[in-house]
């Protein structure tokens, strides 16, 4: 039996993983030699598909693997169900006896420092960054496509802009977003994104939900997203061979490797889920992920932030809230 306190400390790192709107849709239960994970159905949108939610669980698992590795434990995920039911249970086991590597310690530090920066990035990358990112070892049956060419980055920017326009034009999607945006006018919370990190010009004295439901302009948000993606020097797409629950978990882990590696390289990142989730945008994302045989799962941009202060830390659910007895 692994010490519960030790598992709790790994979960604390796991909880720093990114999730859609920072909804942190995870619950965990400690087992004899690991933890069982599930989606927290209180925190997921009314309707699926839950691709992004399970990818967040994949990122959660990846973070936990860094923390466990730093203590000499290897993380193993039990065979996953193919069908992504919301009640699906994902069992993660830890095998002791491994030696903590320098890489594990570096990645753990990166996972702890990682945060999304939705602001603009400098147009030039540090020279070693692309090669380091290309060297990332992907989870089986997943792949990373790095996008550096100006024309392709422009195409990606167009997808990001169109996705943002859809999000703010469809009432159902606005309603999904609203509970997860907050300002100083809202009571403190454990989930969601500060509005200032999304749109620094947005009014700080109205509740975030009101901004999301009524005030946000689809055109303005779309054009802001286009500008930020156009200017970013490097984009990436994570794909998986199958569009099933195992593919999503593996894809989430690979995505997190990109984000943490980028953090270690002192790059910031910002994700755009819309191009993968909106059916009319998916063909464009497939073209961008050329050569990757599989389903594109997420688009992201990387770069040195022009405004490091835009990487505002989002709140986190405490481990006690995530770990069920």
């Amino acid at each position: 039996m692994i010490d519960r306190e030790l598992i709790a400390s790994w979960l604390e790192v796991a909880c720093l993983a990114p999730s859609p709107h920072n909804n942190q849709p995870w619950t965990a239960r400690a087992n004899f030699d690991g933890v069982s994970l599930q989606l927290d159905q209180q925190l997921v949108p009314l309707l699926g598909p839950d691709r992004l939610q399970f990818m967040a669980l994949g990122a959660f698992i990846e973070n936990m693997s860094y923390a466990a590795a730093a203590h000499g434990y290897a993380l193993v995920v039990d065979k996953l169900p193919t069908v992504p039911r919301r009640a699906a249970e994902i069992t993660v086991r830890f095998r002791g006896g491994a030696k903590a590597s320098d890489n594990a310690i570096t990645m753990l530090a990166g996972a702890k420092r990682r945060r999304t920066n939705r602001g603009p990035y400098e147009p030039v990358l540090p020279s070693v960054a692309t090669a380091e990112l290309q060297a990332i070892s992907c989870e089986p049956e997943t792949s990373i496509t790095l996008i550096t060419g100006a024309a392709q980055r422009s195409a990606a920017a167009d997808l990001a802009a169109r996705a943002m326009r859809v999000v703010f034009s469809v009432p159902e999607l606005r309603r999904d977003l609203a509970p997860f945006v907050f300002t100083g006018a809202d009571p403190p919370r454990m989930t969601g994104m500060p509005l200032a990190s999304m749109n620094p010009a947005a009014p700080a004295n109205v509740p975030g939900s009101r901004w999301a439901l009524e005030l946000a302009s689809a055109d303005e948000e779309a054009e802001a997203a286009r500008a930020r993606f156009e200017r970013s020097p490097l984009h990436f797409v994570v794909s998986s061979r199958t569009d099933t629950l195992p593919g999503w978990i593996a894809g989430g882990r690979t995505m997190q490797r990109v984000l943490v590696t980028a953090t270690v390289l002192r790059l910031s990142h910002c994700l755009a889920a819309g191009p993968s989730e909106i059916p009319t945008l998916l063909p464009g994302l497939r073209r961008l992920a050329r050569g990757a045989e599989g389903r594109p799962l997420i688009l992201g941009r990387l770069g040195v932030p022009s405004l490091p202060g835009r990487g505002i830390a989002s709140p986190r659910r405490p481990v006690d809230d995530v770990l069920r007895r």
Partner: protein, 381 residues
């Protein structure tokens, strides 16, 4: 009427039925069901892409092995078809059958509708109501009709000449069970009558109907079943043909135990029920209930009943429409929608032709005044 066999417990029976000498045909529903189950479990796949193909291969290889399929199978014997169908079990079949209803009927409504006990008395228009109710997911019925299928029924009742002379009840049950073998049907082959009122409507220890769909021809029985439904607080729905149109009557005896029969259109029928034995009285009461706001051709036809027509004229269009209307009203009531008592009209001819559909210009059409005068002349009303 059918046998539902579980391979875990009924293996020898299944094996014997499938012996070549029995002549029973095996239909394996899984061939059609598996791709549809895959599309329900993985609705997000993009058809035709390599990842969709890889996902489906993974799905079929991990979720549905041969052993999984057999464990989730039931063998359903349809004796009149000389067929046995290897079908997904009740829960899986239910998922498949209601998959295309999603969001149009939400999960709670679908569950309430499937649990509702629907009584249908009269299986001509009632057969259409039954079909639409079963298609939308109702699964529990009490069915009553004493008649057999005749050639003149084939203008409005979906049937087969192979079934002429068969009880309408048998045909309705077969059709319902072929659509959903897991349906729960209770048959009243002598039709509705006062002697079966308690067991049909449900009183005492017998489960009470959620909704009664009343589609009988006999006015005495129409009154009797309403009197008893009202006493049992069972709501009554009736859909009536009107040319190519349909009229829906809703009597929410469940909400208002003093609501008058037929909305009070024919007065206090409980007091004069014995008079309904008189043919002229019957026509007068029926005319009062139906009213004169019917199509010009229906008006003309009604004046011919007993003279050049043997009975109330009906069309397949109207019977189909009435079936949808009756089933929808029953579902609204079963699912708790606020459907008030009253009369509702669906006039397809006016929707398509506009107000001129109300004009009585042809020899077989009567306006309202001519109709009332005609009835008075014929029946001395």
């Amino acid at each position: 009427m059918i046998e539902i066999l579980d391979p875990a417990t009924d293996g020898p029976r299944i094996k014997s039925l499938l012996e070549p000498a029995t002549g029973i045909m095996l239909v394996d529903a899984w061939e059609a069901a598996l791709p549809e189950l895959a599309s329900l479990d993985l609705p997000h796949l993009t058809p035709g892409t390599p990842d969709a193909r890889a996902s489906l291969d993974e799905y079929l290889g991990t979720v549905w092995t041969d052993d999984d399929i057999e464990a989730a199978s039931r063998y359903v014997l349809f004796p009149w078809r000389q067929a046995i169908v290897r079908l997904p079990d009740a829960d899986l079949f239910w998922r498949l059958r209601t998959a295309r209803n999603r969001y149009l009927i939400d999960e709670a409504e679908q569950s309430e509708w499937s649990a509702a006990l629907i009584g249908i008395a009269g299986l001509s228009v009632g057969g259409s109501v039954l079909a639409a109710a079963s298609l939308t997911g109702a699964r529990r019925f009490r069915l009553a009709d004493p008649d057999t299928l005749g050639p003149t029924n084939l203008n409005r009742l979906v049937g087969s000449v192979c079934d002429l002379g068969q009880p309408k009840l048998t045909m309705a049950m077969r059709r319902t069970l072929e659509t959903d073998p897991y349906s729960d049907l209770e048959a009243f082959p002598a039709g509705y009558g006062p002697e079966v009122a308690d067991s049909f409507i449900g009183t005492g220890d017998t489960e009470r109907l959620t909704v009664l769909v009343e589609e009988m021809d006999d006015l005495v029985l129409k009154v009797d079943v309403r009197v008893k439904a009202r006493a049992a607080r069972v709501p009554v729905v009736m859909a009536t043909d009107n040319g190519d149109n349909a009229i829906l009557d809703v009597e929410r005896f469940d909400i208002d135990a003093s609501y008058p029969l037929f909305h009070g259109l024919a007065g206090d029928l409980t007091a004069s029920a014995t008079d309904l034995g008189d043919p002229i009285q019957r026509v007068n009461v029926a005319s009062a209930i139906v009213g004169s706001q019917i199509t010009p051709r229906t008006r003309f036809s009604l004046t011919q009943v007993g003279r050049t027509l043997p009975s109330w004229p009906q069309l397949g269009t109207a019977a189909t429409l009435a079936g949808a209307l009756g089933a929808l009203a029953a579902r609204y009531i079963a699912c708790g929608a606020a459907l008030p008592s009253g009369r509702y009209r669906v006039d397809l001819d006016e929707i398509l032709l506009g107000p001129k559909a109300r004009d009585a210009g042809r020899w077989n059409e009567l306006d309202e005044a001519e109709f009332i005068a005609g009835l008075k002349a014929v029946y001395d009303a």
